[in-house]
């Protein structure tokens, strides 16, 4: 069965500092990997996705993530955090190919990011 682990429940950083959110996954086939962001009381917004090609992917809002197959990781990074980045971040994994399996994503528990001024 597929699973996603986000080891850090809560991370606090200062504005302007760099950020790395960790994500480890377990998946038996070629994974389709995602990072989503959620502001309180809102839906989830896609930050970036990876399914093939360059293992460093760029997303919106200045975020990037690196896929490391050997470590089963897909960590999210940002070089300089802004106060508006405070939110909850979810890593997700799903099947890359296969008819009705599309969109059946498995999500991690989420990491809450607090940004100090």
């Amino acid at each position: 069965a597929q699973s996603v682990t986000q080891p850090d429940i809560h991370i606090t950083v200062s504005e302007g500092a760099s950020l790395e959110l960790r994500c480890n996954y377990s998946y038996g086939a070629t994974p389709y990997l995602f990072w989503y962001v959620q502001s309180p009381g809102q839906g989830l917004q896609l930050l970036l996705k990876y399914f093939s090609g360059d293992t460093l992917v760029q997303g919106i809002k200045g975020f990037e993530a690196e896929f490391k197959r050997s470590q089963s990781s897909f960590n999210l990074r940002k070089p300089s955090v802004h106060w508006s980045d405070a939110a909850e971040y979810f890593c997700a994994v799903g099947p890359f190919a296969g008819g009705t399996s599309y969109g059946k994503l498995t999500f991690g528990q989420g990491t809450i990011l607090t940004v100090h001024p």
Partner: protein, 112 residues
């Protein structure tokens, strides 16, 4: 462009009452549709998904049901709510050939 609407945004219901949450997608055809539930500190749990009108798959046995009466409409229902049904419910859609989900704004359900 595609949009997804979900309502109501907030709902407070007594135990044993019925439930109906609605979701519609605009700007696309034949989407896959999904209902997820989000409980505090527990990530997102897939409840139902649908690949077409009248085609519903349940992921977790529970007190809820889903229906898809039209191509771009997805409804989450319950005949009698339980306290454990409280949570944040998210509707989402995906293209048939693509993997990412596009989420609605969510519906906060509190069962008292």
């Amino acid at each position: 462009s595609q949009t997804i609407h979900q309502w109501p945004a907030t709902l407070v219901q007594p135990v044993g009452s019925p439930l109906s949450l609605e979701c519609t997608v605009e700007g696309t055809s034949n989407p896959n549709l999904y209902w997820y539930r989000q409980a505090a500190g527990r990530g997102l749990q897939l409840l139902f998904y649908s690949v077409g009108i009248g085609q519903i798959s349940s992921e977790v046995p529970q007190n809820l049901s889903a229906s898809r009466p039209q191509d771009r409409q997805f409804i989450l229902s319950s005949k009698k709510l339980l306290l454990s049904d409280s949570g944040f419910y998210l509707c989402a859609w995906s293209r048939r050939g693509g993997g990412e989900l596009f989420f609605g704004e969510g519906s906060r359900l509190t069962v008292l």
